[in-house]
Amino acid sequence: MHALRHIRPGDWLTLLSGSVCVVWLMLSLWSSELADKAVIRSGGKIFREVPLSRDQSIEVPGPLGVSLILIQHRKVRIASDPSPRQYCVRQGWLEHAGEIALCLPNQVSVELLGGHKRYDSLNY
């Protein structure tokens, strides 16, 4: 290998620390922490804060009717909602901290929180 001839001892050090730096960035910026509690809001106010450890279904009243929220195996979804376009229902299961499902017409939302709050477009 002729190319390796040009790499001096310190360059290996630079390469190594560069690689460590890249791996560290990947681990710290790409890891998505699993959530451990869900905050359910209705009409902008916190309706309930529930831990994900217990499977349950919660009925949340809103202006259009009742939204049904399911918690199963540390995951959360909005199972049914009276909103016309059903965006929050189609979002499916949420499991990572920072994920959020919003049913705007019915003013209901579920947000997942982990050990510490991650940034997203809603709380920048």
Partner: protein, 178 residues
């Protein structure tokens, strides 16, 4: 009435800087033809010229060549004073700043490969800074940082090797070994 002409005295050094900047510009144009999976992930071939100039003629000349390349390149691509121009400029400025310190590393241990990697990381850091502070002030761009950093490491190493190879060839030629 006599016509007056303004004549700028261009020294040999000016010509030399212009020639080097032109080579760097050529590489920039060449590179624009290479498709990129993500805007901003580019080999940065022009930095090879900056590295060689730095090793040969010192930091001042390298800064001239690098900044002239950014300016002339923006005029050529028609993005002078657009966000793209400021991205290139901030990258080039931060690279030069880092090179100003890195050039004092003992050359017995640290060659062009190290300088190239440091400059590549500085380049991407300068660009991300502009993107975050001005263009997209959103934490979501953090997801892209590892990709850019990995690209900086790979392309920095490759550019450094090319620069080292080039300088090695010229030295052996000058010594009459070939």
């Amino acid at each position: 009435m006599t016509s007056s002409t303004i004549k700028l005295q261009a020294t040999a050094e000016d010509h030399h800087i212009a020639r080097m900047a032109a080579v760097a510009l050529g590489l920039t144009v060449l590179e624009a033809a290479i498709p990129s999976p993500l805007p901003g992930v580019k080999p940065g071939l022009a930095n090879i010229v900056t590295l060689i100039v730095l090793a040969r003629y010192g930091w001042r000349t390298a800064a001239w060549v690098s900044l002239l390349r950014v300016l002339a390149g923006s005029l050529l691509f028609g993005n002078f004073l657009t966000p793209g121009f400021f991205l290139s400029l901030s990258g080039a400025l931060l690279s030069l700043l880092v090179l100003a310190f890195a050039q004092h590393l003992p050359s017995r241990w640290f060659g062009p490969v190290s300088l190239s990697i440091y400059a590549a990381f500085a380049h991407i850091a300068g660009q991300m800074e502009i993107v975050y502070l001005w263009l997209i002030p959103h934490a979501g761009i953090a997801y892209l940082i590892p990709i850019f950093a990995a690209a900086a490491l790979v392309f920095g190493t490759v550019n450094g090797l090319i620069a080292a190879r080039f300088m090695d060839n010229e030295e052996t030629k000058q010594l009459g070994v070939h």
